[in-house]
Amino acid sequence: MDLGFKGKVALLTGAGSQIGFGKAIALLLAKEGCDAIAVTDINLDDVKLTAEAVKALGCKSIALKADVTNKDEVQKMVKQVADEYGKIDILVNVAGAILGGGPLEEQKQDLWDREVGLNLYGTMITSQAVLPYMQKQNSGAIVNIGSGSTHMYSHGVSTYAMAKGAVDIFTKQMAIMEAKNGIRVNCVAPGPSPTNFIKAPDKQAVIDMLAKQIPMGRGATPDDIANATLFFASDISGYVTGQVLHVSGGSVL
């Protein structure tokens, strides 16, 4: 099926990790014929590797540094992408991370601010910076990466899950506001996955334990997430907006 990416320009945040979702999304967009993919990360060295991998597939790419919690940096980065390629058709808000969590009595404002800043405010200001370009051409697709953690409850307070829950709502609000401007906004919510997200020293043991709890018996792969992201980014889902799609192997039913 032709996903219609020929001639399209995409911008991805949080695409530095070499085993993460962002890189897999960038590579799949390149394979499907996207014209140019701007990849950004807080870590420029990492994201340069992603850009090289994209270019190796014959697709234009630039690597840019941006801390998505810094509005000035984000606006500068987005302008650079638009200046370079003349437009932005697709935005994928990948940047996000779990920074902490735990018992209620241990919650501190600093952690809340950082976690909500990265996962929610970062998505908001990146979208804010990109939307004028999409509005000008009366078309665009924004895909936010949410999380299955919004529906999987465990003991303790997960600021991450709360922030991602807010990303779901933000997705719908933006979808409503931008529908008449030809811009669609959707969200892919990954289930547990063996990426850099798991920071425990006994990473493999954690992955094995998670796999046992997932009905499908395995975690979400970067390709699983990339496939769903491309569905939303493509015109084949041209009538789909404001939706949250869980890609979690049955963890969220």
């Binding site: 099926m1 996903l3 499907e32 719908k172 979808a175 409503i176 529908a179 008449k180 289930g191 009905p215 499908m216 018996g217 979400a220 792969t221 699983d224 496939n227 769903a228 491309l230 569905f231 084949i236 889902s237 041209g238 009538y239 789909v240 907006t241 404001g242 939706q243 799609l245 869980h246 890609v247 979690s248 192997g249 049955g250 969220v252 039913l253």
Partner: protein, 253 residues
């Protein structure tokens, strides 16, 4: 993107209408190289769809069955298995609504029964009939066509909305039950289309509430077929028990 549907076999129910979602689902699967068995309660119409499928160079057959009758469903599946050898994909598309049943105090038992039979029992019988084969092959995709009204509430009691909502719960329960057998069950929820589903003149529907939806355009059969092809393919293998609303933003849940 190669959806890997080449050589797969599908059964699509309720695909007789020449302007409906079912026919376009059949054609889209066929374009991806899938053999398609076309079901409808009206064999003549199913044959018309099958002829259009045949023109795309894949194997096809038209098979009559009233999906609310278990014996007819079992006979249909037996015939398809005899012809195709296996059924990899089932699309429960047959469905309908009793118009004029909106006055709750005057709602009749037979209207209630009819809506629930067509929209829930049909999917149950068809799934029951194909699951033994899918379980044996450790492979299968079931896509239920729900409705965006399953996730919305309007003033008044709609047996149709309730039955489609029940179909969504059915999707989630069945999905959790069979995922370990390698079978994915998901759902696509269309918004209002200009098909035979709604007996009112299309002009009236177009001027009615469609302009009030966020994108202000109707659901097209192609919109639905694209989402079904995505869920019927292996690129969505990690998506289990989910509902994708293809409704132009009418439902933001």
């Amino acid at each position: 993107m190669d959806l890997g549907l080449k050589g797969k076999t599908a059964l699509v129910t309720g695909a007789g209408s020449q302007i409906g979602f079912g026919k376009e689902i059949c054609l889209t699967l066929a374009r991806e190289g899938c053999d398609v068995a076309v079901n409808d309660i009206d064999l003549e119409n199913a044959r018309k769809t099958a002829d259009a499928v045949k023109a795309l160079g894949v194997k096809t057959m038209a098979v009559k069955a009233d999906v609310t009758k278990k014996a007819e469903v079992d006979e249909m599946v037996r015939k398809v298995l005899a012809e195709f050898g296996r059924i990899d994909i089932l699309v429960n598309n047959a469905g309908g609504m009793n118009f004029g049943a909106f006055n709750f105090l005057e709602a009749k038992e037979e209207t209630w029964d009819k809506d629930f039979a067509l929209n829930t029992k049909g999917a149950m019988f068809c799934s029951q009939a194909v699951l033994p084969g899918m379980t044996e092959h450790k492979y299968g995709k079931i896509v239920n066509i729900s409705s965006s009204v399953a996730k919305q509430a309007f003033p008044g009691v709609s047996t149709y909305a309730m039955s489609k909502s029940a179909l969504y719960v059915f999707t989630r329960g069945l999905a959790g039950m069979v995922i370990k057998q390698g079978i994915n069950v998901n759902s696509v929820a269309p918004g209002w289309g200009l098909t035979n589903f709604d007996p009112r003149p299309h002009d009236e529907i177009k001027k009615g509430f469609i302009p009030e939806t966020p994108r202000a355009i109707e659901t097209t059969p192609k919109d639905i077929a694209n989402a079904v092809a995505f869920l019927a393919s292996d690129v969505s293998a990690h998506i289990v028990g989910q509902i994708i609303c293809v409704d132009g933003g009418s439902t933001m849940q």
